[in-house]
């Protein structure tokens, strides 16, 4: 057991297809997965994750552990951006607004990293609880509020942005596709339970890992292209942030949830991954609306080009290893 096993997740088809995409993009191949097709797959993945989580939850009662995790996760999503902001302002040359926008990404989560971690946990012989899907959904958004606070603090409150509408950012944040589909599918899974799930299992469960391969090929292409374009705009301070930030967040989460709340190895790994992963779908869209002055080439390169590949390849095995140290 231990590091070896954790590292062997690196040779799963999922990770290998990600690497293929990354490689193709860095070699400047013109290949691409059509965007509409990839977005369709993303919706499929979120429906499948939500359903499975909901069905799992329908079989277990609500425990105090669960409630503790929910509260901690919400607090974590609010708090991480403050820490990230401090690091970025101290150790990189990012402006205040760029640092705030980037920080917001690291309080939120990446659902694909979550899924890959769930697979790796199973592959390593552990299991993770169904309700963690709900935790992931909860962590999507609080970070956005912290980022807005950080960006506006100390400025004279500027006038309303022209053309903006009341509640626009809030709606974008609370009703974005991932939240709606994840929470909706979770509720549906809760309602229909194991019996209802049977009819849709051949679509949502059996082929799930295969679809993930196709999706990660596309993610590899996106990450590689983002990296090739954006890395020039980043100094060493911000590039290294993309690596040390997830590790610090994971370790902090691991200590609190492991020693403090007594989660088992599987659940602990997933919580660490949620802390460590950074958003590249929900938060960038919200930032373009709320903080148009922040530069997407900075926060997208860091989150999609640096942190996502790091987590997928090095991070997840590392977090499994740490979780084994703490709770194994």
């Amino acid at each position: 057991m231990g590091l070896e096993l954790a590292l062997s997740t690196l040779l799963s088809p999922i990770v290998l297809f990600f690497v293929l995409g990354l490689f193709a993009a860095l070699m400047r191949s013109q290949m691409s997965v059509p965007q509409d097709f990839a977005k369709g797959l993303a919706i499929y993945l979120m429906m499948a994750i939500g359903l499975k989580g909901g069905v799992a939850m329908s079989k277990t009662p609500v425990t105090s552990e669960m409630i503790g995790v929910f509260i901690f996760a919400t607090a974590l999503s609010f708090a991480l951006p403050f820490f990230a902001y401090l690091c970025l302002r101290k150790f990189s040359k990012l402006s205040r607004v760029d640092a705030a926008a980037t920080a917001g990404h690291y309080g939120s989560i990446s659902i694909v990293t979550f899924v890959a971690a769930t697979q790796a946990v199973i592959f390593s012989g552990y299991t993770s609880a169904g309700y963690l899907v709900a935790v992931a959904a909860i962590m999507e958004t609080p970070a956005i509020i912290s980022a807005l606070y950080l960006a506006q603090r100390g400025f004279k409150k500027e006038g309303k942005v022209v053309g903006s509408e009341r509640g626009e950012v809030a709606r974008e944040v609370l009703l974005n596709a991932s939240v709606v589909v994840l929470v909706g599918a979770l509720l549906i899974g809760l309602i229909v339970g194991e019996d209802g799930m049977k009819t849709v299992e051949p679509f949502f469960v059996t082929p799930f890992q295969g679809v993930l391969c196709l999706f990660l090929l596309d993610m590899g292409l996106s990450a590689g292209r983002g990296l090739r374009q954006g890395w020039r705009e980043l100094d060493f301070g911000s590039l290294s942030f993309g690596i040390y930030m997830p590790v610090l967040a994971a370790v902090f989460t691991g200590i609190v949830c492991g020693y403090g709340m007594g989660l088992n190895v599987g659940d602990l790994t997933i919580m660490m991954v949620l802390g460590a992963s950074a958003s590249y779908i929900a938060v960038p869209a919200a930032m373009r609306l709320a903080l148009p002055k922040a530069q997407p080439s900075i926060y997208l390169t860091l989150s999609l080009g640096v942190t996502f590949p790091f987590n997928l390849t090095v991070g997840i095995p590392l977090y499994i290893f740490i979780a084994q140290m703490i709770a194994g």
Partner: protein, 103 residues
């Protein structure tokens, strides 16, 4: 068939600000506009392509609107300040239209 002189406003703007721009136009009272997706672009020394950014937050659109001069002046005024915050290009040209009543 007689033609009527109008102004054609062409606004190239990023997707997240599309709704704001649309609101500016309707607030000014234009009778219509049409949005066309851009698939790639270049400006300020950086290049983008649709599908490169998984969040679509850097995709651009082209908004066309045909209107009379009076509305154009108002629209330009407001769009100028909208563009202060967002990436975008505004240009105006002279066109003739067939049916004057609908503008």
């Amino acid at each position: 068939m007689d033609m009527h002189p109008k102004k054609r406003l062409e606004l190239i703007i990023e997707t997240p600000a599309q709704k704001r721009a649309e609101r500016v136009l309707t607030d000014v009272g234009v009778t219509g506009y049409t949005v066309v997706p851009a698939m790639a672009g270049y400006g300020g020394h950086s290049r983008w392509r649709r599908g490169m950014d998984i969040s679509s937050s850097r995709d651009m659109v082209v908004i066309l609107s045909i209107m009379d001069e009076e509305k154009l002046i108002k629209a330009i005024e407001v769009l100028g300040s909208l563009l202060g915050d967002h990436i975008g290009v505004v240009s105006v040209s002279d066109v003739s239209v067939v049916r004057k009543d609908i503008f």
